[in-house]
Structure formats: C-alpha cells, structure tokens
Amino acid sequence: MIQEEQKNEHREWTELNMGPQHPSTHGVLRLKVKLDGETVKEVEPIIGYLHRNAEKICELDYYCDSLIYFDRMDYVAAMNMEVGYLEAAEKLLNIPPPERAQWIRVIMAELGRIAAHLVWAGAFGLDLGMLSPFFYCFVQREKILRIFTEICGSRQETNYMSIGGVYQDINENIIYMIEEFTKEFPDKLEEIFNAFVKNDIFMSRNKGIGILEPDVAIQYAVTGPMLRASGIEYDVRKAEPYLVYDKLNFDIPVSYKKDNLARFLVRFEEMRQSVRIVKQAIKKIPDGPYFNPKAKKSLMIRLRGEGEVYARTESPKGEFGVYLVGDGGVKPYRVRVRSPSLRNLSVIRHLGKDVLIADLIAISGTIDLVFGEVDR
C-alpha cells in the first residue's frame, strides 16, 4: 500500500487549463485540471472572468435603477432575477405590489424558468455531443421570448417589472399567447425529453456519474434542482412562499438517485410543474391595478429605504437571495446577492475527483452554470 502511494506521488500529472474560452464551460469558467492520463485527479475552478462589479454599481444607483443589473445576472432567466430583487426592495421601501401584479410576476417567473431550463437542456446536450436537441429546445424558447417581446418589447433582458408592480398590464392578446403556449408546450417537452432519455448512450453517460450526497450538498450550501436531486425536498416557493405561490397547486420534484440523471430529470419535471403553475395562474389572475400608486413612476428616484432586508426566491438555479441594507438615503447602502450558481459550482471540487474528462464535462453541464450570476 505504502509503496503504491509513493509511486503515485512520483507520477507526473498533466496540468490542463480548460477555459476561459472552452466550448463547454458555458461562458468563462476556467478549470485548472490535473490529469493522470484521462482521469481527473484534481480540479480547481477559477472564476471572476465575468466579474462586472454589479454590487458596487448598485450602491451608486437609485433603488429603481438597480433592476437592470439584476436582469443581467442570470441572463437566461431575467424575470426570476427581477422577482428576487423586487421582493427585497419592496419590503425595504414598504411598497407592496398589488395583487394583479403579483400574479403577473408569478406567470412571468415561471415562463422564465422554463426558458432557462430549455437553454440548459440544449447546452447540456451539446456538452455530451448531442447536436440536435439544442435546436428543438431553442425553438420552444423562442416562443416564450415572443411572449416577452409582446409584453415589454425586449427578448431576453426584459426589465419588465418595477418597484410597486409591473411596467405594463397584460392584455387578452398576451393571455391568448400564453394559453396557446401552455397548450402545445407539454407535448413538445415530452418530445425533447424522449430525445434524451430514450437514448442508451445518454443514459449510460449520466447514470451513476457525479453522485452528490445530501450531507455534502448541505455542507456546500447547494440549493435548487441540485439539492432536490440529492433527495432533499426543499423549495423556497414552498418553504417560504413569496408572491402568491401559496395559492397555487404544484409539486416539488425530488429524486433520490443523486447523480447526473437525477438532476436532469428534476429539471425536466420542474418545467412540467411550471407549465402547471402558469395554467392555474392564467385562470386565477384577478382584475385590478397592476401598479402601486404609491410608487408613481416619475417619482421613483425619491424612494427612501431604511433597515435591512433579506429576501429569498427560487430562481431556476436555486435559492436566489438579495440582502439590501438601506441607510435612509435614495440609494442602497449595501447590496449583497446570494447567487446559487456560485455555491453549486463550488461543489465541483468535490465531484470532479477521480472522474474522466468526459464525465467532468457532463457534471459541469448538470450544475447549470450562468456566469453572470456566479461572478456578478
């Protein structure tokens, strides 16, 4: 035994720098990998290549202006980020949104969640070498983006919500579009799902790879689909309901298999649940104002907040928290973002030991990284 260990020490490990420009690091992750042949012995993620100083700039801007930086954090799910920030900001500024606005926000956040997971599914397919599902996912995503464009004129970075409500009311046309989407999307989703899971190679690439034990997941503060795939039924939407999630009927998908495949299945089940939520919400949406009159748009910059507020929401990546500290001025004193991807990424140091390169790629694919949020 001892001799063997000594031998291993003397073996030279190849050091490989993957990224920041690498096809499957989803942007600008740099992985310093130590290789023994094809086996990864050590992996050290180096981040900060998209550090855009959002937390600093938020301190320099008014409360209402900071929203755009949150849009660009998890840039594939801008709506969810907006919900996260506004949860905190509205509590701090004491401007609760009217009920209709809350329902609209729920619908938009769930559509955003679907869009984000679709991007993930397509990119994950590309990581594994499946070329086509990417395109099927993006076709469906375009439909959601078309709804967003109809609502606010922007495709991706929507900037739709604002303090005290939403920027614009939704009309029958948009409701019709959303209804049409929820009608035809489940079938398409099953098609995409089958394209993945009915493939033996796909299953063999994911089954039993990247097992994340629940206690490790908690130690690393992993949240979101990754935590749920490790067998812990925890969702902020249920644990600490915000907006009107307590009036909606939906399940939390959990898997006890803990591997790559579990994470894949949990995300797909989440999309199905999101469709279910949108279907319910679009029927229950009440009439009324969509904007809190207390926050007149023209006077937004005069909003003053004092105290400390931490608000958590369930973003597609996990628990997205915003910690706002106000000192009574028109600008926030300190903005701190709890980005789920950062914690989820930190677990790769644990998962990426003694796996093959191909598996490392698959594992980093299932973590669902978006670097705007990791580095902020």
Partner: protein, 154 residues
Amino acid sequence: MKTGDGGVVTTTLEQAMEWGRSNSLWPLTFGLACCAIEMMAIQAADMDIARFGSEVFRNSPRQSDLMIVAGTVTKKMAPRVRRLYEEMPYPKYVIAMGVCVIQGGPYNQGYSVVLGVDKVVPVDVYVPGCPPTPEALTHGIMLLQKKIRNETDR
C-alpha cells in the same frame, strides 16, 4: 469595384477570394455573457445563420475567421480576448456585439470592466443593443460581408 492597374486577372482572383471569404465566415465559439445566448439564438432554428454559410462554429481559434465578442469584456478577460485574437489566422474579423463590448454599457462606472473591446482588439463591425436581437447580429454579419467585398452600404 476595383479601379487601377492591378490587371484583370488579379482583380478577378481577388474578387473571387473576397467572395469566398465573405460567404464563409466561421465564427469562434466564444461567448462571454448575456449576448452569448443571443449569439446561440442566431445558430438556432429561427434565425438560421447557416443561410449565410456561417453556421460552422469552430471551437479552436485556429480555424475560425470571425470573432463575435458577445458580452462584457472584464479586465481579467481582456488579455485572453487578445490572446484568442492573436491565435486566429489572417484574414480575421471582429464583431463587437452589445453595448458592454462597445463602451462598457451599464457597467461603465465600475472598476473591473473594459470600456470598449476596441481598446484590446481592432473591431470591424459594432452591433449595438443590450443585448442585440439576433436580427441585429445577422445584420451585423451581412454588413461585415459587404465590407469584405468592398461594397458600400448605400
């Protein structure tokens, strides 16, 4: 068109090369931030960039002609953008996609963002927007094609 004393043969050959170059711009798979998702969208089914012969996204800078700088260039990333640009073979082109790349965009008051990628690499076409729609990026690529063919826009 070419005027002058280059001779008929060289001119036609040059034109043919320009025609070939402009119609087969292989971009580098190089996404930095938000705009990268829109760059992926131009590959996807709705805005099929393959129509212009540019769907061959190459992973290696050695094999690509066009670098679409999609997303905020941070100071930490800037030397790497430069390195990638230097690794590409001539003739090479750069499209600056999005306001972050053009002048820093919403992040231009901060400490870690490069205010314009043109400080690092020469840029051929600027595509404004935050993020630019896929249509805008397609227009940018068409502009670049015209530029390569020495055609004026109007």
